[in-house]
């Protein structure tokens, strides 16, 4: 157990905010927040870096959720043989080549091998000029399924979708997240930002209350991260499957005793763009391992 501090705790909000920032490295028993992630002994991953300009008012550094996980979980993600999320990548490889829908096509019919997806995960969500909308990766996958293959769309938070996102993400692992927030995406981004700072539910908590003001602190047994999504989809030891961004948002808002927005709603698309952009500069990690 952590030892109790001997000096009387201060109560000012400012002090709390500072404490939140300083708490990094304060709990070596649970997680090594100084550790570096080298994937498969060769690819150096950026798990901490300077915050993007649009966050300079609030954060100096951004951190991958990996930094806040305990040693065992960290190690599990460092090697693809130990990463349980990689099983789903293999499954998606089969789906990639399997024809589905009225057009008799597979992903491979239009895109060759999955390597052709290098860089994709790093830049999504992004503005799609033809459709005139901000598109997340899962929206693009379902657009291909419906409009190119004539197949049923996958459930946004379902297993098929998470596995395909993992396969596509793997092609960008180690590349920096680089999501555009200007131009036609700006309006959606602003909307996502507003949601990020809104205090929902009977507990009146915003994403920022936990992931900006208190990352590095424990909330009961949970070690709060910055709530970054560079590691998605994440394999969670808790439910032994791949978890999607939209399901995580839903869970976090539910936990404020609120009625969350629905996965796939305009609100959550905007939030996904905004949260992704907070991770600009971190390496794409998906599928990551979390508890």
């Amino acid at each position: 157990m952590r030892a109790f501090a001997t000096s009387r705790a201060t109560t000012s909000r400012l002090a709390m905010t500072i404490a939140g920032a300083l708490a990094i490295a304060a709990t070596p028993l649970f997680a090594d927040e100084e550790a570096d992630l080298v994937l498969n002994g060769e690819t150096e991953m950026v798990v901490r870096t300077a915050a993007p300009d649009h966050l300079s008012d609030t954060l100096d550094e951004i951190y991958s959720g990996w930094v806040f996980r305990n040693d065992d979980t960290q190690v599990m993600q460092a090697d693809d043989f130990d990463n349980p999320g990689m099983i789903f990548v293999d499954q998606a490889m089969e789906a990639w080549a399997a024809a589905d829908g009225s057009e008799g096509k597979s992903c491979a019919s239009c895109h060759d091998g999955p390597e052709s997806m290098a860089g994709v995960r790093a830049s999504y969500p992004k503005w799609n000029a033809d459709a005139g909308e901000v598109r997340t990766l899962w929206m693009q996958i379902n657009d291909c399924r419906e409009n190119q293959m004539g197949a049923e769309p996958w459930k946004i938070t379902g297993g098929d979708m998470a596995a395909m996102e993992a396969l596509i993400s793997v092609q960008s692992r180690g590349m920096p997240v680089n999501v555009a927030i200007d131009g036609p995406a700006a309006e959606t981004w602003e909307k996502g930002k507003e949601i990020y700072y809104t205090r929902y539910g009977q507990l009146e908590l915003s994403c920022a209350n936990c992931h900006e003001e208190n990352y590095g602190n424990y909330i009961r047994a949970d070690h709060l991260s910055q709530g970054q999504i560079n590691g998605f989809p994440t394999y969670r030891l808790k439910n032994a499957k791949l978890n999607s961004v939209q399901a995580r948002f839903e869970g976090c808002i539910r936990d404020t005793r609120a009625e969350p927005f629905k996965p796939g709603s305009d609100e959550f698309i905007a939030l996904e763009l905004y949260v992704a952009s907070r991770g600009n500069g971190l390496s794409v990690e998906g599928p990551s391992v979390r508890n």
């Binding site: 501090a5 539910g201 539910r254």
Partner: protein, 169 residues
């Protein structure tokens, strides 16, 4: 709900001599202050007991430690509750609160801490309206205001009683 409480309040007034008697412990006759009727002073403190019934520190300790009740240790470390694992770090340690705070201050912090600490992350435990997209517990379903408060009036008095026992040993 509000109506019911008001009726009780009227009854309690007519029965006021009995109320002051320490033998009376059942909340049924107490003068319970409804969430909307709580009066804060300019610093966010609440002088008047929510029930008129003295708090039970043992029950207050349970409120603070139990995940199903107040779950205060999710955010606060309390040395005197060290039997309960996993105390949080989001709020200040409360192991000396009985020396540092008055009952009125604690009541204000529990009822609605935002009146004491502007913008704090600490939830309001005796507030029933004015939420954004309130849900029915953790079910994801929408809920109609007024919501039941997170703690009952007596649970708040019990918690205050426990907090007042927290002194540097």
């Amino acid at each position: 709900m509000r109506h019911f409480t008001r009726t009780l309040a009227v009854l309690a007034l007519t029965a006021s001599p009995i109320l002051t008697s320490p033998v009376l412990t059942g909340p049924a006759w107490a003068e319970e202050v409804a969430p909307a009727d709580v009066v804060f002073d300019e610093y966010g403190a609440v002088a008047k007991s929510l029930t008129g019934v003295p708090g039970d520190p043992a029950k207050g300790a349970e409120v603070m430690a139990s995940k199903k009740i107040g779950n205060c240790v999710a955010c606060h470390a309390v040395a005197q509750l060290s039997d309960t694992p996993f105390h949080g770090e989001v709020g200040p340690e409360l192991s000396w609160t009985g020396e540092a705070r008055s009952e009125a201050e604690l009541r204000g912090i529990l009822v609605n801490s935002k009146k004491t600490f502007e913008g704090t992350v600490m939830p309001a435990y005796y507030k029933t309206t004015g939420f954004i997209r309130p849900g029915e517990g953790f079910t994801k379903k929408p809920a109609q205001e007024p919501l039941p408060p997170l703690l009952s009036a007596q649970q708040i008095e019990d918690t205050i009683a426990f907090l007042m026992t927290l002194k540097d040993q």
